[in-house]
Structure formats: structure tokens, C-alpha cells
């Protein structure tokens, strides 16, 4: 049987549906730059979600854990070889994504006999200065987009839009410190989760002025009481430690969470 352009179209369509269907329940991830560093934030039930890749690089994603794991290890390998053979300064998120991660994902996505990866993730790179912080969101088809200052990953494009809109207004005048960044991230997570759950894309009475705060609070509170735990990690710009990457502890997050408990 001849393989027509129609078949190709259909197979791509089916793949997208298959993947999107599995992504849509993922717990949203927020990447946000603040004065002294860079924050990745999410909430989780069981699996760890935020990972260190290299000296100035970290990632988080939604999707199948086995796929995330493969991409994570692939990124770590590529970064370490480059950092050892040349210099840690030559390891950049831009090079890593465009020449390693994206082509590999694209390859399995466009091979009709291979299972595509169920993955959408954000790679965040700490710059020497705040305006050089870089975040790249990579999707299951290998497509990626660069976003300065902040990035979000969620199960649907609509949820991502709502989260971005909130974070954009919230961080317009810059994010002063980690506490502010954490507060905004947790709220943005609540927004993402709300719009994932209610599937209210056509919701007409959504006001442009902002999300109804009570709704968002109740989404966050409900998940906290369902034993979801916040997970956050930072890359610190000015630190004397060998590792810039630091997972935030329960104590670091207590204040942010206490508002919703």
C-alpha cells in the first residue's frame, strides 16, 4: 500500500493526541529568575521532579518518568563531556538543546515505528548576570522556544497561557528575592492546576484583570491537604559553595506554604 501524505498527517495527528493525552495531568512547573539566582518550582506526589544537569543548568519536566529520565541522563552526559573537554563555560543551554536534546527527541518523534517520548520540560541556565538567565522549553516533537526571565510547563497550552499571563504581570518590575519568587510560583502553579482540572477553555466569564484569588487558594490548599508537597531548587549566582544547585528544604518552603494550610 502506498504511503500518502495523508497517512503521514494522520500518523502525526495520532501521535500528538496520544502524547497530549498523557501530558495533560502533569503537575505544572515554573522557572523564574530572581535577583540572586534562578528558581524551578513544582508540586509533586511521589516522583522527584527537579534535577541538576550541570554547574549552571537544571531541568524539570512533565511526562512519562522513563522518558524524562532518559532525556535527563542524556543532557547530563553531553554537558559533562563538553565541560571536561573544553570548559564549564562552554556548556550552555542553547547548545545543549539545539545540538543534543532537540535532535534526539525529533528523531524518535518522526520515526513512525518508534514510540515517541511523552515529555515537555524546561531547561534553565543561570547567567553571570540576571539578564543573561536563559530558559528553554522543549516539547515532545523536538520543538523548543527560548524565554527570558521566566518559563512555564503545563499539560495544556491554555493552562500555560494563564500561568504566563499571571507571572508576566507579577514579575514586570523584577522579582526582588527568593521569597517573592516562591510566592509567585506557588500561585502560578495553582492557576495552572485550576485550568487543567476544569478544562474551561471556553469559560466566558474569565476576567482579564486576574484570577479569582479564592479559587486559586482553594486549589493549592486542597492539593497540600492531599499530601502534595512543594519541590523547589535554585541555582545561586553568588555562592562560595562548589555547587550552585541547591534543593530547597522543607524549612525553606515552610513560609510560602503556610499561607495555604
Amino acid at each position: 500500500m502506498p504511503y500518502s501524505p495523508y497517512d503521514w498527517n494522520e500518523s502525526i495527528q495520532q501521535r500528538n493526541e496520544f502524547i497530549e493525552d498523557r501530558l495533560k495531568d502533569g503537575s505544572p512547573v515554573i522557572a523564574l529568575t530572581y535577583g540572586e539566582g534562578l528558581l524551578l518550582f513544582s508540586m509533586r506526589q511521589t516522583q522527584r521532579k527537579i534535577y541538576e544537569i550541570y554547574d549552571r543548568l537544571m531541568m524539570s519536566a512533565i511526562g512519562n518518568h522513563s522518558d524524562i529520565e532518559q532525556i535527563r541522563v542524556g543532557a547530563i552526559d553531553a554537558a559533562h563531556v563538553e565541560g571536561f573537554q573544553r570548559s564549564p563555560d562552554d556548556v550552555s543551554v542553547q547548545r545543549l538543546i539545539s545540538f543534543n536534546i532537540s535532535p534526539a527527541i525529533k528523531r524518535v518523534y518522526s520515526d513512525p515505528f518508534a514510540q515517541p517520548v511523552v515529555f515537555r520540560g524546561v531547561f534553565a541556565e543561570l547567567g553571570k548576570t540576571e539578564d543573561r538567565d536563559t530558559m528553554i522549553v522543549v516539547s515532545y516533537d523536538g520543538e523548543f522556544r527560548n524565554s527570558p526571565r521566566m518559563a512555564v510547563v503545563a499539560g495544556t497550552a491554555y493552562a500555560e497561557d494563564r500561568m504566563s499571563a499571571y507571572l508576566k504581570t507579577e514579575t514586570e518590575s523584577g522579582t526582588a528575592n527568593l521569597a517573592v519568587a516562591l510566592r509567585a510560583s506557588l500561585y502560578a502553579w495553582g492557576i495552572g492546576m485550576k485550568h487543567l482540572q476544569t478544562d474551561d477553555r471556553a469559560d466566558a466569564d474569565y476576567s482579564e484583570s486576574g484570577e479569582p484569588a479564592a479559587d486559586i487558594s482553594s486549589v493549592v490548599s486542597k492539593h497540600l491537604s492531599d499530601r502534595w508537597t512543594p519541590e523547589a531548587a535554585v541555582l545561586e549566582r553568588n555562592t562560595s559553595r562548589e555547587n550552585r544547585f541547591r534543593m530547597l528544604t522543607e524549612r525553606d518552603l515552610a513560609e510560602t506554604v503556610s499561607k495555604y494550610q
Binding site: E52, D55, V73, D77, H80, V81, F84, N243
Partner: protein, 287 residues
């Protein structure tokens, strides 16, 4: 009849084989990247000749080997009440020439481990880079830090791997390792021989050409002033810098403190810190 059966059997096997080949070509596990168990394997796969365990065959030994004696320097590690102190001179030599007066010989391997290097500077720097990457690669990919024992084993292996080069008189390096164990809240000092043999010491460790002449002085301090591990940071720094000054007086390859201050760092439960210039000057009796 028999023959016919065989033919049938052959045909059956052929069909099965074809079917198998068919499924193999159709069902693919989309392995995006091949995982490498260790950093050394990763480097080997990337075609990078490294100094790790997979470095490959060592170069043939030159005819007639020499003693391993190319480590002109002095590095000292001592324990003190809250952790460990490392001091080192800053001279780099080539034969009888002073190459450089600001060499950094006390290097951090991770947040709680200092390596003080003696011997070939180029080799030492490469080893430190290799070990740093190895430790971090392990922690990042395995999602747990490499154990203390694992780290020590990596270092021993690198030294042992370097043995042939050391015997040829090129690239010998012998470190002193200081590491702070956060679980037991205790510091450990290890020194090494050229074959990678590892020895833990109770009080102090030293390496380099200047370490031999001052060995008796360590023992004198232990007997007259008491153990290093009970000293305050000021006392332990003063004693170790005095020892370094004596080494500089007795050994041509060890630099003094007149031109540039020696390097001095300490490890506590809070991680690694540099002593400030003022603290070093005070310990040297200049303030």
C-alpha cells in the same frame, strides 16, 4: 520421508526466523541516549583520552626507570578543633628555574574535600578536573552523592593509573587529601604513595620535596604543644604556616611568604573557606 520432515522443519525454522527478524526491525525501543555507568566510560565513548580507569594502555616504560622525585613543593594538611586546615606554598618550578610564584595548590574537589597537590602541576590540574567531574557526574546522574569510600577509590585509581608516567619521570603527582565527614562530624587526612597506596593519618599529612625535612618538626609540635586536633584555628594555622616557612628555608623548590602569601584554607561542617590575608599575616607574625 525423513528427508521431507527435515525439509518441513527447515521451512518452519526459516519462517520463524523471518518473523523474528521482522519483529526485531519493527519494534524499537527508542533509546535516545546510551547511558554510561561512569564518567570514565562516558569520556571513552566520547573519544576523549582521559586519566581515569579506562584510559587505555599506558605508554611503554622507557629503558631504565628513575626514582619518583619530581614533586618540588610543600603542602601541609592538619586537623584542628573544628575541622581541617590546608596550607601550601605558591612556587612552581621546572628544574632549577622558578616558573611561577602564584600557583594554587590547594584545590576543592567538592564542598567538603580539599586536595593539596605536589608533583607535576599539569597532571595535578588535570586530575583535579577529572575528579571534580567524576564526583559531580555521579551525584547528578545517580541522584545521590558519591560515598566517601567511592571518592577515595577514584583518587587511588587515578594515582595508580599514572604510575607508568611517574616511573618515566614525567607527570608524577602525589596529593594529600583532606575531607570532612558530616555524618560523624570528623575530619580525615589521607596521604598517598606513587602506586596509589592510601594511608590515613591521625594528625597531619604533608607532601612534596619540602615535607621530608620538616617531618621531625611535626613530631616535635605534637610532643610539646599537644595534638593538632585539639588546637584552635589560630594555633593550628600558626603552627602549619611556621612549618611551611621552615620547609621554604630548607628546600629550594618551596616558596617563602615574602613575595606572595601562602595559600591557606579550612574545612568545617559549613564547608570550605579561605583564610583571609589578615588572618594569614597574623599567623605569620606580620601584624
Amino acid at each position: 520421508m525423513l528427508i521431507a520432515l527435515d525439509e518441513h522443519a527447515d521451512a518452519g525454522i526459516a519462517i520463524a526466523k523471518r518473523a523474528l527478524a521482522h519483529t526485531e526491525s519493527e519494534i524499537k525501543m527508542p533509546l535516545l541516549f546510551e547511558n554510561k555507568p561512569t564518567f570514565a566510560d562516558l569520556l571513552a565513548a566520547a573519544g576523549c583520552r582521559s586519566i581515569g580507569p579506562s584510559a587505555g594502555a599506558a605508554p611503554a616504560l622507557a629503558h631504565g626507570t628513575r626514582d619518583i622525585d619530581t614533586h618540588g613543593t610543600t603542602v601541609i594538611a592538619v586537623k584542628y578543633r573544628d575541622g581541617l586546615i590546608n596550607v601550601a606554598d605558591r612556587r612552581a618550578t621546572a628544574g632549577n628555574t622558578v616558573m611561577y610564584d602564584q600557583a594554587e595548590k590547594v584545590l576543592a574537589l567538592d564542598d567538603y574535600t580539599l586536595i593539596s597537590i605536589s608533583g607535576s602541576f599539569a597532571k595535578s590540574v588535570e586530575v583535579v578536573r577529572y575528579l571534580r567531574h567524576t564526583f559531580k557526574y555521579f551525584e547528578r546522574s545517580q541522584l545521590q552523592p558519591m560515598s566517601q569510600g567511592g571518592k577515595l577509590m577514584e583518587l587511588q585509581r587515578v594515582i595508580a593509573n599514572n604510575m607508568p608516567a611517574a616511573l618515566q619521570g614525567i607527570g608524577a603527582f602525589i596529593p594529600v587529601l583532606s575531607t570532612f565527614d558530616r555524618e560523624t562530624n570528623q575530619g580525615h587526612i589521607y596521604f598517598y604513595d606513587a602506586m596509589g597506596g592510601q594511608f590515613e593519618t591521625a594528625e597531619y599529612g604533608a607532601a612534596g620535596s619540602g615535607s621530608g625535612p620538616i617531618r621531625g618538626a611535626f613530631e616535635y609540635i605534637l610532643r610539646t604543644r599537644g595534638p593538632f586536633r585539639e588546637m584552635s584555628a589560630e594555633d593550628a594555622l600558626r603552627e602549619s604556616l611556621t612549618l611551611l616557612e621552615i620547609a621554604a628555608d630548607l628546600d629550594t623548590a618551596t616558596g617563602g611568604s615574602a613575595k606572595y602569601l601562602p595559600a591557606a584554607k579550612y574545612i568545617t561542617a559549613d564547608g570550605i573557606q579561605d583564610f583571609t590575608d589578615d588572618e594569614i599575616k597574623r599567623a605569620l607574625g606580620r601584624i
